[in-house]
């Protein structure tokens, strides 16, 4: 079997498992085993492909759905960018899924929980893989729909008073997205990313302007992706809802959902909408920069000010999204690579923190900082895992967050030094918020308010999956820190391919795709040389 055909398995496996999960409503054990196998398979596949493609000249695999040639059939593209994200998301999903075995209530679990998680991952993986704008919309919808269901999972009163904001804001986003996709087709006659990139490259090589309204259209799409990515001022749905849902699901959401939005910006903007200093770039990049500053800084202030672990963690997602947007706002090869690395490390670390939060809650019965304490004495292992994850989030070396931040901050010194300063300050405040959790929860005398009789103490056996999930993620986080080199090699390749989409275009559209552009580029180079020659004498 050809390697290209394999990449669809990232989508087919979770979907298949999810479909079977629909039928296995009552047979929880089988569903669990199948689910774990599914995530194991996708993780193994992603890691295996990444390793295999390290020596590949471009590292891009393309599969055409239905064997219809690009750009007409839908392309599914596995490149360095999607590969890393797929690997991270599959591992995170595995961790959170295993963790959920000890946090999801048995009665609730029978309400299609397993199918929904799988289908969520179907959407997420599809979003990372697809090479088509409208298909991206479809994948967003799959993911969103599954997230609506998982968000309201259990149907508590608190969830119900908040969930509508999430659903409605995302609905507006989806509507604008579908309009945007339609209008992109109207303006360019195509939907395929590579073809769109070619369209833009061709126009630029010919020195022609992009169609009128292209900038406004890219603004509309930026709104959509930004809404999903929870950047300023579009993040509102996130802090109000993440803390209401089941903690394993919150971990899954915190890891995945915002990253998909950021991924969509990273995929479409450097290559297409803001490529090479177009009009759209002139407006999009400052917007992203300002948004990044607010996202980082207001986000972290919000996190510091809260007094519940879940809320701190939830609001923190925003602040870290700011770093990714920071990387995007610079739009250089290296900054994009940093953004990508930051994304994957944040997926892992943030999910891990949520999983730890789940275990803390099982120990103390609450996520209120004032009412917990002394956990270090009771559970040093949890403390260790939490500490590593928290320090990775803060970005202290040699943990993963450091390496993510490092590249972005470094690139920022050139044009957007103020963003780098914001980034550093945000790091310090992040430290403060994590220390807050640590000192209240793990140090501090055990709060008298908690009265734990032997009966309501958590059963170690029932928590075993929770520990397993958290351990898996913390191991991945440690790998990302100490083994940053191979990951960064791939990330740098991804950054290069985003900033200069030629390789991507050729991989998707075939070797001849760039011939026209090359001709124009050569002509304009000649012209420029001629002009220079005229000027010199």
């Amino acid at each position: 079997m050809k390697l290209e055909n394999l990449i669809i398995l990232f989508v087919a496996i979770p979907m298949g498992t999810g479909v079977i999960g629909v039928l296995l409503k009552q047979r929880v054990q089988i569903a669990r085993v199948l689910g774990v196998l599914s995530f194991l398979a996708t993780s193994a596949l992603a890691v295996g492909l990444l390793v295999h493609l390290r020596s590949h000249p471009t590292g891009i695999l393309v599969s055409q759905m239905g064997a219809w040639p690009a750009p007409f059939g839908i392309s599914v593209v596995f490149d360095s960018l999607s590969g890393l994200l797929l690997a991270a998301s599959s591992l995170v999903a595995l961790g959170c899924y295993v963790h959920s075995f000890s946090t999801v209530e048995p009665t609730a679990e029978k309400r299609y929980f397993h199918a929904l998680v799988q289908l969520l991952m179907f959407g997420v993986n599809l979003a990372f893989l697809t090479g088509d704008l409208f298909n991206l919309f479809v994948s967003f919808e799959i993911m969103l729909m599954a997230s609506y269901c998982l968000l309201t999972f259990g149907g508590t009163r608190l969830q119900m008073t908040q969930a509508y904001k999430y659903v409605l804001l995302n609905l507006i986003g989806s509507t604008v997205f579908v309009i945007g996709a339609g209008l992109v087709y109207g303006m360019t006659g195509t939907l395929n990313f590579a073809d769109l990139a070619l369209f833009v490259a061709e126009r630029q090589a010919q020195g022609r302007a992009l169609p009128p309204g292209f900038a406004a259209l890219s603004i509309a799409l930026l709104l959509v992706f930004g809404l999903k990515g929870a950047i300023f001022p579009l993040w509102f749905w996130l802090p109000d809802t993440y803390y209401t849902c089941n903690v394993s699901i919150a971990g899954l959401f915190a890891g995945m959902l915002t990253k998909v939005g950021i991924y969509a910006i990273a995929r479409t903007f450097p290559m297409i909408f803001a490529h090479g200093g177009s009009d759209a770039a002139k407006i999009v990049m400052p917007i992203l920069a300002i948004s990044a500053a607010f996202t980082m800084f207001l986000g972290v202030l919000g996190a510091v000010s809260h007094h519940n672990i879940r809320r701190i963690l939830a609001v923190h997602v925003i602040s870290q999204v700011g770093y990714m947007v920071f990387g995007l706002a610079l739009m250089t090869q290296i900054a994009l690579a940093g953004c990508l690395f930051y994304m994957i490390q944040h997926m892992v670390v943030k999910s891990c923190l949520f999983l730890c939060c789940g275990i803390i809650e099982r120990h103390t019965g609450t996520d209120d900082l004032d009412r917990s304490g002394g956990l270090l004495r009771r559970d040093w292992y949890l403390a260790l895992v939490f500490f590593i994850a928290a320090m990775s989030l803060v970005g202290l070396p040699p943990l993963s967050g450091f390496f993510g931040k490092l590249v972005i901050v470094r690139e920022g010194w050139d044009t957007r030094w103020w963003l780098s300063i914001f980034g550093l300050l945000t790091g310090a405040l992040t430290l403060l918020s994590m220390l807050k959790i640590w000192s209240y929860c793990f140090w501090s005398p055990q709060a008298a308010a908690i009265e734990r009789t032997p009966e309501n103490l958590p059963n170690r056996g029932s928590l075993r999956p929770a520990y397993a999930g958290a351990t898996l993620l913390v191991l991945v986080a440690l790998f990302l820190g100490f083994g940053a080199q191979p990951v960064y090699e791939i990330a740098f390749r991804a950054g290069r391919q985003l900033a200069d989409p030629d390789e991507y275009i050729v991989a998707v559209l075939g070797p001849g795709a760039l011939d026209e552009v090359a001709k124009y580029r050569a002509t304009s180079a000649q012209l420029a040389a001629g002009r220079a020659a005229e000027v010199t004498p």
Binding site: F134, V138, E141, M145, Y148, C149, T152, G155, T156, R157, L158, M160, T161, Q162, A163, Y164, V167, L168, L171, I172, S174, T175, V178, I179, A181, G182, L183, Y185, G186, D240, R311
Partner: protein, 127 residues
């Protein structure tokens, strides 16, 4: 026709935003419903009617009577892709709508109100 469609898009979008900024989740749901129409109308505008002056019912519908030969001008039928996109969008819109409505039922049951201000106040209390 394109202008009419654009006006329709503008009006439906505007009204749906008006409804969505309301206080009652029910009217917000109506707004969502209209929003779907706005999106679909906006996409269908991309298919550019083939016969500009007298669009006749289904004359240029994207259904072939014989094989499409290369010589035949494309302008004799409308662009089929926007239609396919809208079809997908309709179905997805329906799914979301149905879920939203069910959510509303449960929200009103659990929270006892559908007024967004009251819901916000209640959520604040819970925090």
């Amino acid at each position: 026709m394109t202008i009419i469609l654009s006006i329709c898009v503008a009006v439906t979008f505007a009204v749906s935003i008006y409804l969505m900024t309301g206080r009652e989740l029910k009217s917000i749901a109506m707004g969502v419903f209209l929003l779907g129409h706005a999106a679909n109308l906006s996409i269908i505008a991309m298919s550019r009617t083939p016969v500009r002056h007298e669009p006749q019912l289904l004359k240029g519908a994207p259904i072939l009577t014989e094989a499409f030969d290369a010589a035949r001008p494309m302008s004799s039928i409308v662009d089929p892709l926007p239609q396919a996109l809208i079809l997908t969008a309709i179905v997805i819109g329906f799914a979301v709508m149905a879920f939203l409505l069910s959510l509303l039922v449960l929200t009103s049951r659990k929270a006892g109100t559908l007024n967004v201000e009251q819901l916000a106040a209640e959520a604040m209390q819970g925090a």
